[in-house]
């Protein structure tokens, strides 16, 4: 029998595929470098203290001011209001799907909910600007054309499927034996859902909240179209605000000359945004792994 060495062609295949896999690594590295290098350049000209602690953001004016807090406040305001919508209704939808709905109903409702998540965000932005804001005005709410409320409400609804889907997965993973035990003691469905299932699924549920918040923070088009383009340090959702993402889009799509401090604000703000969402995503992934460990 002929002695065969290792087929080198197999090694080639493995090597090629590994190279493909490296593309994703390269992407992450590239993102970090793309953000860091100009950001470092930026912070050599603008102090960290000014960036993170002053409250006037006017990079394209002269004299230019670089306090990022209005943008962060805008992002936070929208995120908080959006979560006030998404979390209660997302959790409610999840509880219904997991504990109340019949299997046939669930098979229809779950994908239907995913449709909400599949609508492009620019369409949601259009809806917020051209439908929600006029409706709010018609209801007597004192909002202008651009306001945080309309954008945040629509964004909250967009995020409901994210929270519902992950929470429902976590709740379905809770063993039926626990529910049986509670029913056997004379609990009704509400008590079983809230006192047994939700606490048992809590790490998956929190993971879904964190993921929802992360999506809200990173969303661009809805706020770009409906929330406004002027930085405004406020906690009043009736006013207009500019978020970090909207700012990046506005300047990035505009004419700021390459290499200037004004241009580099894109990267400084981008870096701030990236760090925030990255941290949240890590937490969420950790939590999901934790609940998967317990029950699977």
């Amino acid at each position: 029998m002929r002695a065969t060495g290792r087929r080198w062609s197999e090694d080639v295949v493995k090597g090629v595929l590994a190279l493909f896999a490296l593309v994703s690594v390269a992407t992450t590295v590239a993102i970090v470098v793309a953000l860091l290098l100009p950001a470092v350049d930026f912070f050599s000209q603008v102090s960290l203290r000014e960036f993170f602690t002053t409250t006037d953001w006017a990079p394209l004016f002269s004299p230019a001011r670089f306090g990022v807090l209005p943008l962060v406040a805008g992002t936070l305001l929208i995120t908080v209001v959006a979560c006030l919508v998404a979390i209660p209704f997302g959790l409610g939808a999840a509880i219904y799907l997991s504990e109340y709905a019949r299997p046939r109903t669930r098979r229809i409702l779950k994908p239907a909910l995913e449709v909400l998540a599949g609508i492009p965000t620019v369409v949601y932005g259009y809806f917020a600007l051209t439908f929600v804001t006029p409706q709010l005005q018609a209801l007597g709410v004192p909002v202008g054309i651009f306001n945080a409320l309309a954008a945040a409400l629509v964004m909250g609804i967009m995020i409901i499927p994210t929270i519902a889907s992950l929470s429902e997965d976590a709740m379905t993973a809770v063993p039926q034996a626990l529910r049986d035990g509670a029913y056997g003691l004379g609990s009704n469905k509400l008590q079983v859902s809230l006192r047994i299932v939700v606490p048992a699924a809590v790490s998956g549920i929190i993971a879904s909240f964190v993921l929802g918040i992360s999506r809200a923070v990173g969303e661009t088009m809805i706020v770009l179209l409906a929330a406004g383009g002027m930085p405004n340090l406020t906690f009043n959702p009736l006013e207009q605000v500019q978020t970090m993402t909207a700012f990046i889009a506005a300047v990035g799509a505009g004419d700021a000359p390459h290499g200037t401090v004004a241009y580099n604000t894109i990267f400084a703000v981008g870096l701030t945004l990236f760090v925030m969402t990255f941290a949240m995503n890590l937490v969420s992934i950790r939590l999901v792994r934790k609940y998967r460990e317990i029950y699977e």
């Binding site: 019949r102 299997p103 063993p175 034996a177 626990l178 529910r179 049986d180 035990g181 509670a182 029913y183 056997g184 003691l185 004379g186 609990s187 009704n188 008590q191 006192r195 047994i196 606490p199 048992a200």
Partner: protein, 288 residues
């Protein structure tokens, strides 16, 4: 007790083939209050009957055991007593289950109330992922019995013969207990809502022999104050603990597997002088 055990051990053959009619009220004993009166009960899961035409009466302050080969519907049957089958969408129940004269499946009967009066312990211990205290306190809290919770918890744990082992670590997680302790915790949990009946679906089958003995001793204790119904696949256990025993078997004549009640009598009779050949075959180990 030892008479019965030695009878079973000798596998003394009995004679009569007899009718396959379930017998009620054993002769010669003082009359006992009937707690459950089951009349012609049939349970179907989406069409096929898992259990058909069962009729019997359960007596107060007695331990009644359901025995039989696997698949004969014993678990389905016991779950009818506290309407746990309601939780299965495809299950339908025909016939009557009367609890002290009231139809459990009556129009305005709330299954939640049923389950408070008729408690259940499951085959595999299923403590909640909470502290020992919170497990026992869960039922009372849910029912709104917030006063004297500490006393209730202690009393339930004492009744379940678990108090001494856990009294210093009530706040520890219930999951840190051994299997046998967890099952006694589940019993304490069930006792805490002050039921009148305790149903046990193979309560010791997942436990080691020592824990099993403790659970069986508990059944003796508890039957003074409660009515106990157990399902067991262990004949010796039935012989040891039960006052009345019902033997179920599987009927394949109509194509599917349907559980039927073959014989129901005092335990001593079932194991020494069964009326039905099938019962005799089962208890002497010829099948099942």
């Amino acid at each position: 007790m030892s008479d019965m055990e030695s009878s079973v051990a000798e596998k003394m053959p009995t004679v009569s083939v007899g009718e396959t009619v379930a017998r009620r009220d054993a002769s010669g004993d003082r009359p006992r209050q009937t707690v459950f009166d089951v009349r012609d009960l049939t349970v179907r899961y989406g069409g096929n009957p898992a259990l058909a035409g069962v009729s019997l009466e359960i007596h107060e302050n007695a331990v009644t055991a359901f025995i039989g080969p696997s698949g004969c519907g014993k678990s389905t049957f016991i779950r009818c007593f506290n309407r746990m089958n309601d939780l299965i969408p495809s299950a339908t129940v025909e016939g009557e289950v009367l609890y002290r004269g009231e139809d459990l499946y009556g129009k305005d009967v709330d299954p939640v109330n049923v389950r408070q009066l008729i408690g259940m312990v499951f085959q595999k211990p299923n403590p909640f992922p909470k502290s020992i205290y919170d497990n026992v306190a869960f039922g009372p809290r849910v029912l709104g019995w917030k006063q004297e919770l500490d006393e209730r918890v202690e009393q339930s744990l004492r009744q379940a013969a678990l108090w001494d082992e856990v009294k210093d670590r009530l706040r520890d997680s219930a999951l840190s207990l051994s299997g046998g302790q967890q099952q006694r915790l589940c019993i304490a949990r069930a006792l805490a809502v002050e039921p009148e009946v305790i149903l046990m679906d193979e309560p010791a089958s997942a436990l080691d022999p020592i824990s099993t003995t403790r659970i069986e001793d508990l059944m003796h204790e508890l039957k003074r104050d409660y009515t106990i119904v157990i399902v067991t696949h262990n004949m010796q256990q039935a012989a040891r603990v039960a006052d009345m025993t019902a033997f179920f078997s599987v009927d394949v004549s109509s194509g599917g597997r349907t559980g039927i009640l073959v014989e129901y009598d005092e335990t001593q009779k079932i194991f020494t002088k069964p009326s039905d050949q099938r019962t005799e075959d089962y208890v002497t180990g010829r099948f099942g």
